[in-house]
């Protein structure tokens, strides 16, 4: 078995056992990542920065120096952290995000920063100021977004694993479109300190990995309360590596609201086949109702832009990032810096959010959306009294063509149809590859109640082993 065939967990085990050197592993991946970066348009454009050298040796800890790719929006001290935006071009943060710092403490080495949609706003990675990312399964297609660089890098074998963030599906949807595993933990499980904020009540960091075991391994290092993030939580138990092989007695609920209209036939076929496989492992499949789930997208596209319009007020050309030249006065400097520094989708969401929060419209939009959010959380609570997990396709389609949806914001937003409800409810959800449709990967989403990560990872692992998805053909 070659180095590139190892999962992150296997690589750490080999290094720990003295069968592989951490320096050799890092150099192999560094060279691969650097060649993608050097290839420009000919490559996948996964990275916005690649480590210039191997790190100093003697990385110890559980993760044994295994290289880690980190989404651009995580602050990394002295390393460019631009959140895919021109307004933060070249920004070198004075500190490192807690999630990244915890992975370093456990022995991970920073390999690269990954390309993303600007400020994590997008579902195709076409909104990056640093160019679109391409899908390693088909270069003419998108990798999904907003953690598109992280997903494509892992799928292509340019990084053993990667850190991403999910606000409405930004880990799960690109994981699905690239044929890898993506986990959005329960809101508050991982500290948001040092994550350049998009929508604070929804943003959550999580792993993009080759398999479920790697996702558990990464989450184990990251989870935990942080004094620097008042919304972070003490996870009630230690995250365990999954080991289940069967699903006996497990009740899986299929919500008709997220498995019918709007889902591509090939995606539904793969979904149904995966459910049959789950039944073969002993799971019981039943229908559940999430009556308000079809309204989740509407609520999300009020709440997330509203929070974004507030969070992005800090980019004003004063403390960091770019500034428009020769502005005659302060107000003009603000408005022109923001005009020049933000891309079209970010401007659209700032405008949408500002409108929804503005005088006269607050109750009709923001207030109502917050109430819909309550109803969605109640729907899930009610469903989880009947079933252990909810299962849906992760995304309504397989990877679509570059440029195919850029002209129609609403069509783009519909990519998050199946992932946004879980984000609004703050519950954990994982996407695993269920198979191929038209030669492209399809993702299966499993969602559970808050703090059910250990059970969720176990179930996903058992199903993953039974499905036996082989993603090796995407490695470049």
């Amino acid at each position: 078995m070659g180095i590139l065939d190892l999962t992150a967990a296997e690589a750490a085990e080999e290094i720990g056992a003295g069968a592989l050197s951490a320096e050799e592993l890092f150099t192999v991946y560094r060279d691969r990542a650097a060649s993608d970066r050097d290839a420009g348009d000919e490559g996948l454009n996964c990275f916005t920065w690649v480590a210039p050298d191997a790190p100093a040796p003697a990385r110890t800890g559980l993760l044994c120096g295994v290289p880690l790719a980190v989404k651009d929006l995580f602050c990394t001290e002295g390393v460019p952290s631009q959140s895919g935006s021109k307004i933060l071009e070249g920004y070198l943060p004075p500190y490192t995000a807690t999630a990244v710092g915890r992975l370093f403490e456990d022995g991970a080495s920073l390999l690269a920063k990954t390309n993303q949609d600007e400020f994590a706003m997008g579902s195709s990675n076409e909104n990056s100021a640093y160019g679109p990312v391409r899908n390693p399964w088909d270069r003419s297609r998108v990798p999904g977004g907003s953690s598109g660089g992280s997903a494509a890098a892992v799928a292509a074998g340019l990084a053993p694993w990667a850190l991403g963030t999910d606000t409405g599906g930004s880990i799960r949807q690109p994981a699905a479109l690239c044929g890898i595993v993506g986990l959005k933990p329960t809101y508050g499980t991982v500290s948001r300190y040092g994550m350049i904020a998009f929508a604070s009540s929804l943003d959550q960091a999580g792993p993009l990995t080759r398999d479920v075991r790697d996702a558990a391994l990464m989450l184990r290092s990251m989870a935990g309360q942080d004094p620097c993030d008042a919304t972070s939580l003490r996870f009630p138990e230690e995250i365990m590596l999954p080991h289940a092989e069967r699903l006996d007695g497990l009740r899986l609920g299929v919500p008709e609201e997220l498995t019918g209209e709007g889902i591509e036939d090939g995606v539904l076929a793969s979904f149904r086949a995966a459910l049959a496989r789950a039944e073969g492992l002993g799971a019981q499949i039943s229908e559940v109702r999430l009556p308000h789930a079809p309204h989740a997208l509407s609520a999300y596209y009020v709440l997330a832009p509203a929070e974004a319009s507030s969070n992005l007020a800090r980019f004003d050309g004063v403390r960091y990032g770019m500034r428009a030249e020769d502005a005659p006065d302060l107000l003009d400097m603000y408005t022109r810096t923001r005009h020049d520094g933000f891309g079209p989708e970010v401007k659209r969401r700032i405008m949408l959010g500002t409108y929804a929060l503005s005088s006269g419209y607050y109750d009709a939009y923001y207030g109502r959306a917050q109430r819909v959010r309550t109803k969605i959380a109640e729907d899930f609570r009610s469903a989880f009294s009947d079933v252990d997990f909810i299962v849906t396709p992760t995304a309504p389609t397989v990877a679509f063509g570059l440029g195919e949806k850029t002209g129609d914001p609403l069509a783009m937003y519909l990519n998050d149809f199946c992932t946004v409800p879980m984000s609004l409810a703050g519950i954990p959800a994982i996407s695993i590859p269920s198979g191929l449709s038209q030669g492209l990967p399809v993702g299966l989403q499993l969602a559970g109640p808050a703090f059910s990560e250990n059970r969720l990872l176990d179930a996903a692992h058992a199903l993953e082993q039974a499905l036996g998805f082989d993603g090796s053909s995407a490695r470049v």
């Binding site: 006065d329 659209r348 819909v372």
Partner: protein
Amino acid sequence: MRATVISRDEVLHVARLARLALSDDEIEPMARELSAVLDHVATISSLDLDDVAPTSHVVEVTGGLREDVARPSLPREVALAQAPDASDEGFLVPSPQA
């Protein structure tokens, strides 16, 4: 239900609130795109939500205050290092009233 139509003036008003300059060729597409998204979002106005409490945050956080003790902060030169313009004393910006 009447379709939501955002006018050019409304776009300019919201852009002022957002401290965002828009070029002439950005205004009309912005009005059209905001109208389309708001139209879609308006489906939630058909729901009966009168007796529903709003959720601003899914996690109940109480007592999230840390102890009020002095600790080192970012050194001034580090805080100023990434600014587009700064003096030894602080951030430099154009005058509010040119």
